[in-house]
């Protein structure tokens, strides 16, 4: 009897209000903790799925690149690669190569000349 009386007292509306008030900070904390863990779980899922998508794309690219020479070998038999198709670009590239060669020759000559000059000045002093 005493027990039921205690419960009755506990569940009287006034007591419930007091209890709710007392528990409010803990409830708010618990709700925030649940929200936070849900947020972290969502973040973790996005991170894992995102990384998997990046891997998936690059795995497909890797497979494509690996198979490309084989496919092109087959294509080559039917449609051989022609060299004359890009005359302008080739001319430009040849010009570039020529300029690069000239620059390299110039650089070597300049370096050698500098060495000779410094050797001459060293021996002079």
């Amino acid at each position: 009897m005493e027990f039921s009386g205690f419960y009755l007292l506990l569940f009287e509306s006034e007591s419930v209000d007091i209890m709710t008030e007392l528990l409010q900070p803990f409830l708010a904390q618990a709700t925030a903790a649940v929200d936070r863990s849900e947020e972290l779980a969502r973040g973790g899922t996005i991170a894992v799925v995102g990384l998997l998508i990046v891997f998936l794309v690059l795995i497909f690219l890797c497979l494509f690149i690996a198979s490309l020479p084989k496919v092109l070998d087959l294509v080559q038999r039917v449609l051989p690669e022609s060299e004359e198709h890009y005359p302008i670009a080739h001319e430009e590239q040849d010009e570039d190569a020529e300029l690069e060669l000239l620059a390299a020759i110039g650089f070597v000559l300049h370096t050698e000349f500098q060495k000779q000059v410094s050797a001459g000045s060293n021996s002079g002093s």
Partner: protein
């Protein structure tokens, strides 16, 4: 004396804050680092100068990148309306003139003054004359514009009466719309905030990138994916630290070590953090030779660092031509969010490899990318105003950025070691560090660290493969984050 003190109030010194001063010093440090240490000079000089420019306080003048153009509604105040009608009692078929006058009875300038006129039934407008502003015969709206105190403006409406009625001509003041133009810097910055500059930079990067090394050794592509672990772990770390999801995505991408990608994603997801993210991304890219080597040495043994790799095979022109189109299709069909960046990257590469658009490719990789880099760097620098940049959040972003970079480097190296467990032809794990897409600095670092162990080991060509794969990988990561977080 009074004039002199008034002049002093208009100078930058009067409104200079400690924050402004710190940012100006930071800008000068950036410029110095670029000139003295040669750290990413093409970016640090524009960013540094931009930071100096953006932190000069200009009292009362909208000059910063944040002073954007705006439209606002102006309610009428202190205005009076009057109208006359001639003749006062017109008959059918007779012309009638309504004269409407609006007057500013206040003491201040009235802006965006607007008047609406509604002709009575049976009266048709024939013509009009306005002393100022523009009248729209269809809507009946007269945009008077500005009216000085005590001034008035007059509108005459010549009309024809087809059917006389008792209705009167209705004239009333309506709220006006005022347009405030933005500052010059805000228009330059629009290229950043609208995400226009980064794709253009990608076009230039595509036009200067040679994918041959990647095409010659397809396995190395995976290292570019492994290094993106830095992006996603930092994204998670940022959420843990309390950043919102979009902010975390924008911060995480710093680990992609790709300035334009970081700016693009930050402008879409967290524009308020753009300055800090851009500065962090470019700073760490400049610090690649400092950040990466210790991590590379820590995670590899001497034997591993001595591994020599087989020279890359020759790649045919056809392979190089097909690759940009096919790679674009494969990447963007799986991750459509990357379509903007990868579309421009592979388009630029197609211009280069097709060999028939050499002029376009040359422009994209020289003049165009240079112009866009100048505009991007300068306007990003100018966006680092002290009040928006010097915040605890910026410090967190710098910390997370460094972490992201370190994890990305470690991810690439460790994945290369993992691959070696299954491969007969071993990969030098140092090459994995080039999976972060700081092109070509991280590849150079791999070469440098490799040569410290064996001066005759040339890893540069091999490192370029994960390096360019990293560019693709970070663009995909950005695309994924963009599509998930918006």
């Amino acid at each position: 004396m009074g004039i002199f003190s008034e002049f002093l109030q208009t100078t930058g010194f009067a409104s200079m804050t400690l924050g402004n001063l710190i940012m100006i010093v930071i800008g000068i440090v950036f410029i110095s680092l670029a000139i003295i240490k040669d750290y990413e000079p093409l970016l640090l000089v524009p960013i540094g100068m931009g930071a100096v420019v953006g932190n000069i306080p200009i009292p009362g003048m909208p000059m910063s990148v944040y002073d954007t153009e705006s439209w606002s509604i102006v309610e009428p105040a202190n205005l009076s309306l009057s109208q006359t009608m001639s003749p006062p009692d017109p008959e059918a078929g007779q012309d009638v003139t309504y004269t409407i006058a609006v007057r500013n009875d206040g003491k201040d300038l009235a802006t965006a003054v607007s008047v609406m006129d509604q002709l009575p039934k049976g009266v048709t407008l024939q013509g009009f004359t306005a002393s100022q502003g523009a009248f729209d015969g269809l809507t009946g709206i007269w945009n008077v514009g500005e009216l000085s105190a005590g001034d008035d403006a007059v509108l005459s409406l010549e009309s024809l009466v087809s059917e006389p009625s008792d209705d009167a001509n209705v004239v009333k003041l309506v709220p006006g719309v005022r347009f405030t133009p933005g500052s010059v810097l805000s228009y330059l910055y629009a290229g950043v905030s609208l995400g226009i500059y980064p794709p253009l930079i990608f076009l230039g990067i595509g036009a200067m990138t040679d994918f041959s090394t990647m095409l010659s050794n397809s396995k190395l592509v995976l290292l570019g994916a492994a290094a993106q672990v830095g992006v996603f772990l930092t994204f998670f770390g940022a959420i843990y630290l309390g950043f919102t999801f979009p902010e975390a995505g924008a911060i995480g991408i710093i680990g992609g070590a790709d300035g334009p990608t970081a700016i693009f994603l930050a402008s879409q997801l967290a524009p308020h953090l753009l300055g800090a993210i851009a500065i962090a991304a470019y700073s760490y890219m400049a610090l690649v030779p400092v950040i990466q080597p210790p991590i590379m040495r820590l995670l590899t043994t001497k034997e591993e660092r001595l591994i020599r790799m087989a020279p890359p095979r020759k790649v045919s022109k056809r392979e190089k031509m097909i690759f940009p189109v096919a790679a674009f299709l494969i990447s963007t069909l799986i991750a459509p969010g990357a379509v903007v960046l990868l579309g421009m990257l592979f388009f630029g590469n197609l211009l280069k490899e097709s060999l028939v658009t050499e002029r376009l490719a040359a422009t994209a990789r020289t003049a165009m990318i240079d112009i866009v880099t100048i505009l991007l760097g300068f306007s990003v620098g100018a966006s680092t105003k002290a009040d928006t940049f010097l915040t605890p959040q910026s410090l967190q972003i710098f910390g997370l950025g460094a972490l992201s970079f370190a994890i990305a480097t470690a991810g690439g190296v460790l994945f290369a070691k993992l691959m070696n467990m299954f491969l007969t032809e071993k990969i030098n794990p140092l090459v994995g560090a080039a999976g972060v897409s700081a092109v070509p600095d991280s590849a150079r670092v791999v070469q440098m660290v490799g040569q410290q162990e064996d001066p005759h080991n040339f890893l540069l060509m091999h490192a370029m493969a994960p390096n360019v794969a990293g560019v693709v990988g970070s663009a995909i990561a950005a695309g994924v984050l963009w599509s998930v977080l918006t």
